[in-house]
């Protein structure tokens, strides 16, 4: 079983985002970059499938700037075998262009499973996985919480507001991982050491001119400070008045 997992380098979720790059990009200074948490579920799932089957190869594919390799090594430490880094110094923000670049790289690869996180937690578009599957013309099931592979088929579960769906799909197929799929492991030190020596191929990302560009980023407006209206019963009317007329909550 050959599995390819696409991972993206994103700012840590606790990062205090600063806008840089002429107001259209995140300023990377002082930002800790991590594997997007949903992508980590995908990596973990790939490793579990390989462990369960006792064979297979896991390839990591990541599109991003040079330091995307740091998070690729983290996926290696978890148990992935090798990978390709599609270098993109421009930090493209057009999901379709990214999907095309990834699909171009994937066309040369043999795989049964193609895994993504359901979305990268930087721009939260949630589009790339599905777009890549479409470009490769393979089936895709998004936001899965369970994945079983047998006899050239995958049986997956996904949750929706209506309840739970169980989907059977022929391989090769693509899946995007939702929280709940698994609990990613903490790598063993031996594996961290081994990860440093696993092969990592680097090539430029074949990005077409983006059809979508971010024109301007802005911070959310500062929240007005809290107010103490008063104390005791006599302040209730004033509070009601403020809730009605100022906050428009009543």
């Amino acid at each position: 079983m050959n599995i390819v997992v696409c991972v993206k380098r994103v700012p840590d979720t606790e990062t205090k985002i600063k806008i840089g790059g002429e107001g259209t990009k995140i300023d990377p200074a002082g930002v800790e970059f991590i594997i997007s948490p949903f992508d980590e579920f995908a990596v973990e799932e790939a490793i579990r499938i390989k462990e369960k089957l006792g064979k297979g190869e896991i390839t990591i594919l990541s599109l991003g700037p040079a330091d995307a390799q740091t998070i690729m090594r983290k996926a290696y430490a978890m148990g992935a075998d090798k990978g390709t880094h599609l270098n993109d110094a421009t930090e493209c923000q057009d999901t379709l262009a990214e999907a095309q670049a990834l699909a171009a790289a994937l066309k040369g690869m043999q795989f049964d499973l193609l895994l993504f996180g359901k979305q990268a937690v930087d721009y939260d578009n949630g589009a790339v996985g599905v777009q890549v599957a479409r470009l490769l013309n393979i089936p895709v099931v998004s936001r899965i919480i369970k994945l079983d592979v047998a006899d050239g088929k995958a049986t997956v579960e996904r949750e929706s507001d209506m309840g739970k769906e169980v989907v059977e799909v022929k391989l090769p197929a693509a899946f995007t991982a939702e929280k709940g799929l698994n609990e990613p492991r903490y790598p063993k030190l031996m594996d961290i050491m081994k990860a440093k020596k696993k092969p990592l191929e680097e090539k430029p990302a074949q990005l077409e001119a983006p059809k979508l560009t971010i024109v301007k980023m802005d911070y959310p407006p500062a929240r007005p400070p809290g107010k103490i209206v008063g104390q005791g019963e006599e302040s209730v009317p004033a509070l009601v008045n403020l809730l009605k007329n100022e906050a428009k909550a009543l």
């Binding site: 840590d12 606790e14 205090k16 609990e183 903490y186 063993k188 030190l189 031996m190 961290i192």
Partner: protein, 663 residues
């Protein structure tokens, strides 16, 4: 004195004893050699002084004597008494071969004095043995588990003493000239025995009791090596090879790149000294009696860890010695020492502080943690988040690292990451001081104090990183060393000479464990600094605090760094403050439950340690509880909430007491 047949028999006895003693000793040493190498050859002078000091003055046993536990005095009596007998056996054997080799060789006065003291020692030993038996089989303190071995040894020692007196008695009757006038108990026995109509056989009886006596002595000499009384011989080398590293420091893993395994999973992963610890254990149970895990009903009992490891080593000893290359060795982690035991430890070091024979319990448990974390990635689930948080945001809470210095906004503090400048003291705020809402108040209090004293200090701001203590104590030595090296680099870049820490965990690790990685700066704790400021008159305290305060000693400040007095002296310098001590303080203070990374783990077994300690504090009816550690502070606040006492009793850090009373 002895006829030729007797001399031959004595020689035979000695030969047999030497043979079995040597055989067993060689076996014990060959087991030690299975352990990993560890250099403990440094400071031989200091080591010898320490050992003799502990043994000859019996400080090893006497240090644990309290009003409630006098056993150490019993040990001292038994030790001195029996040691005298050991000397006498030398004379006995010498005299057996050549009759002039006896104490009278050194004159009549010496001879009489010697036998007087010997008889006195015999009485002392008898009294101590009876005392020990009553303790074990009647009083039964919790820390002692009555064992067959202990019973055998007490009976044998008792019999030896009686036989010794009988031998003396028969000798008085058998020899025309009394061999001494000093043996007063022997004389008493002679009187008793002479009335029994044995006159015709006194010489035979003297020889008989003499040989029986010697046979038991020799037999005892061999038995020691097979029993828990191995400590009689092993405790001396164990004291000699005690750790001379700064107190409580863990040893670094030196080579991550080429090592094939990390930590301890098999008994031979321990160093020879860690194995010698097992031999040295006296099974006194002081470690378990002082262990917060054991005292809160958890599986961990440090004594049992040591004894179980010892028994396991002896059970597998032969297999281990004959094991062929490549053969698997049984795991001790998860079987001999369970995961629960390994994770229960708070690293409070109470066990090691009270251990009379310098056993290193914490190192062993932390080595097994290293195995579980680094080799197996097997640890309480909640810890994974902590590791991730430390990796990604350099604090266990996982708060955004850009907000690290937000607490210091508007305080006029020099923040080096924003504007480098000159400073005398670097205030290493630590994660709790930076991110924990409650402990941020302590950071602010410290700023207020230093500003009042006119100290030129600075903080690193967002360049400050987590100290890594929790990672190290949980067993993630790799993560810890990454963080330590990063911090040392930052400190070097800012040319830091002197560091102030409020959190005792940061204080301890910066001061004593960072030098393992090349750190060269002075580190002080805020209680030390504040006391200096008060003494030098650089700050003055005003107002009155007519309250009852009880003080909790933080393990990493107290036992790890022997800082017991500064917090007390500071509290006593606040007018009218009344300090009431808890029952367990200073060296035997009871942990809050948060050390050793336990701060970040669920406490699923037994009672909650912080509640046990809070209950103890509440028996003193305090208005305030004083601490000098963010973890202790949290644990007490939680404890007070659990006991519904948080309205009545408040917890304050020493810095807050002072900041509230600045002139």
């Amino acid at each position: 004195m002895l006829p030729i047949e007797g001399k031959i028999f004595l020689l035979l006895l000695i030969g047999i004893t030497v043979y079995f003693f040597t055989k067993r000793a060689q076996y014990l040493i060959s087991l030690l050699k299975l352990g990993k190498a560890e250099d403990r050859s440094d400071n031989s002078g200091e080591r010898l002084r320490f050992t003799l000091g502990q043994v000859l003055t019996q400080a090893c046993a006497l240090k644990n004597v309290t009003g409630k536990d006098l056993a150490g005095i019993g040990h001292m009596l038994l030790f001195y008494g029996f040691s005298f007998f050991v000397v006498s056996y030398g004379f006995h054997i010498a005299e057996g071969f050549y009759e002039k080799l006896n104490p009278s060789l050194f004159g009549e006065a010496f001879n009489n004095g010697f036998f007087f003291l010997l008889d006195l020692a015999g009485l002392v030993v008898i009294v101590s043995v009876i005392w020990a038996a009553i303790r074990r089989y009647v009083v039964r303190p919790e820390r002692l588990v009555p064992s067959l071995e202990a019973g055998i040894i007490l009976i044998v020692v008792f019999c030896l003493m009686i036989l010794s007196f009988m031998t003396e008695g028969f000798r008085f009757l058998a020899e025309p000239e009394p061999f001494t006038s000093g043996a007063f108990v022997g004389k008493f026995f002679a009187g008793m025995l002479s009335g029994m109509g044995l006159q015709a056989h006194v010489h035979t009886l003297f020889m008989g009791t003499w040989f029986l006596h010697m046979m038991i002595v020799f037999g005892f000499g061999i038995y020691i090596l097979y029993s828990k009384h191995l400590h009689v011989l092993a405790s001396h080398p164990n004291l000699y090879f005690h750790s001379t590293r700064p107190k409580g420091t863990l040893q670094p893993i030196k080579d991550f790149e080429s090592a094939e395994s990390f930590g301890v999973s098999k008994v031979t992963d321990f160093s020879w000294k860690q194995l010698l610890d097992l031999y040295a254990c006296t099974e006194c149970g002081m470690c378990s009696a002082n262990c917060p895990a054991n005292n809160s009903g958890k599986p961990l009992k440090p004594k049992d860890v040591i004894i179980n490891l010892k028994h396991n080593l002896f059970e597998n000893g032969n297999n281990l010695l004959t094991k062929k290359e490549g053969e698997e060795e049984p795991l001790i982690v998860g079987s001999v020492v369970t995961h629960d035991e390994i994770w229960d430890c708070t690293n409070c070091m109470a066990c090691m502080e009270v251990c009379p024979v310098a056993i290193e319990h914490v190192d062993k448990l932390d080595d097994m943690r290293r195995y579980l974390v680094l080799m197996e990635s097997n640890f309480p689930a909640e810890v994974q988040t902590v590791f991730r948080n430390m990796e990604n945001n350099s604090n266990p809470w996982g708060m955004g690292m850009a907000t690290r210095a937000d607490w210091a906004k508007d305080l006029g503090v020099k923040i080096l990451s924003e504007a480098p400048g000159e400073f005398d003291i670097l205030f290493y705020v630590g994660c709790a001081g930076s991110f924990d809402d409650r402990y941020k108040k302590v950071s602010r209090a410290m700023v207020k104090i230093m500003q009042a004293a006119g100290i030129n200090f600075a903080i690193l701001g967002t360049d400050e990183k987590c100290c890594g203590d929790s990672a190290r104590r949980i067993g993630n030595e790799y993560l810890f060393q990454t963080m330590a090296q990063e911090n040392i680099e930052i400190f070097k870049n800012y040319n830091v000479k002197k560091v102030l820490a409020t959190c005792p965990h940061g204080f301890n690790v910066l001061k004593k464990e960072y030098p393992q990685f090349g750190a060269e700066f002075e580190v002080i704790h805020h209680t030390e600094l504040i006391l200096d400021l008060i003494k030098n008159g650089r700050i003055k305290l005003k107002g009155e605090l007519a309250k009852t305060i009880t003080l909790h000693d933080s393990c990493f400040l107290g036992r790890y760094n022997d800082i017991y007095q500064p917090p007390r002296q500071i509290l006593n310098s606040i007018p009218q403050a009344k300090l009431v001590e808890m029952d367990r303080i200073q060296k035997t203070s009871f942990c809050c439950g948060a050390g050793g990374g336990r701060m970040w783990m669920e406490e699923l077994r037994g009672k909650k340690i912080n509640e046990v300690r809070t209950e103890e504090a509440l028996t003193k009816n305090p208005d305030l509880i004083a601490t000098a550690c963010p973890f202790c502070l949290t644990m007490f606040e939680d404890g007070l909430k659990a006991k519904n006492a948080d309205e009545k009793v408040k917890v304050l850090d020493i810095a807050e007491f002072v900041a509230n009373h600045l002139l």
